[in-house]
Amino acid sequence: MAQLKNEMKFEFISKSANESFARATVAAFVAQLDPTISEVADIKTAISEAVTNCIVHAYKNGLGTIYISVKIFENGQVIIKIRDKGCGIENISQAMEPLYTTGGAERAGLGFAVMQSFMDNIKVTSKLEKGTTITLTKNIIPRVTKNGQ
């Protein structure tokens, strides 16, 4: 197990104005690992997907709290958890299929596909009427390797 470098947690109510706040906050914290612009963009996109799902799906009938925790490790690994106490997902593998959506005409059904493609690993746990936790992992490549030294 790699050595923990730093850890943070924050929570906020499920207002859509907080989508940009959440992704910017995680990006600012992860900056300690000296990621590339494209690694930061990947993480911001995945956070935006997970947080939007909490707002649009988990708490579709009202406001709730969204919880985010971020751990960064000395070896460059980032582990992010996004948790809601909303409606839960009945069938996780169906929900994760590309183009599957319960969100209507303005949703593409691609959020999970984007998280899967932009991060190195995704784990989803959910319980109906209790809520959902998304765990996203990304390995930031240390700079020395990036520079080819």
Binding site: A41, T45, T52, V56, A105, E106, G111, A113, F118
Partner: protein, 106 residues
Amino acid sequence: MVEVKIIKDGESASALIKGDIDHHTAKEIREQIDAYVQDNQIKLLNLDFSQVQFMDSSGIGLIMGRFKMMKLLMGSVKVINVPSHLKRIIKLSGLLSLGVIEKGEV
């Protein structure tokens, strides 16, 4: 933060989107564009992405939604000037098969 600038040329209009596209801003963008298209009887809608800094799958939903709307109005939509940092998400979306993006764009 987002801003939409729409310029009309006959029956076509170009909507320049400046800023980030997420679920929050997509609503505002959608409302502005849809009202303009309907008020001005637009047949060809160009979505200019050259000044989009960030976009998640809400941006894909925005494009698909405009595609459906323009089809209902017997018109069409084209996404133009896709910046390189958005190419991956656009490729992943399958939007290329809808014909709203020229092959050379991504």
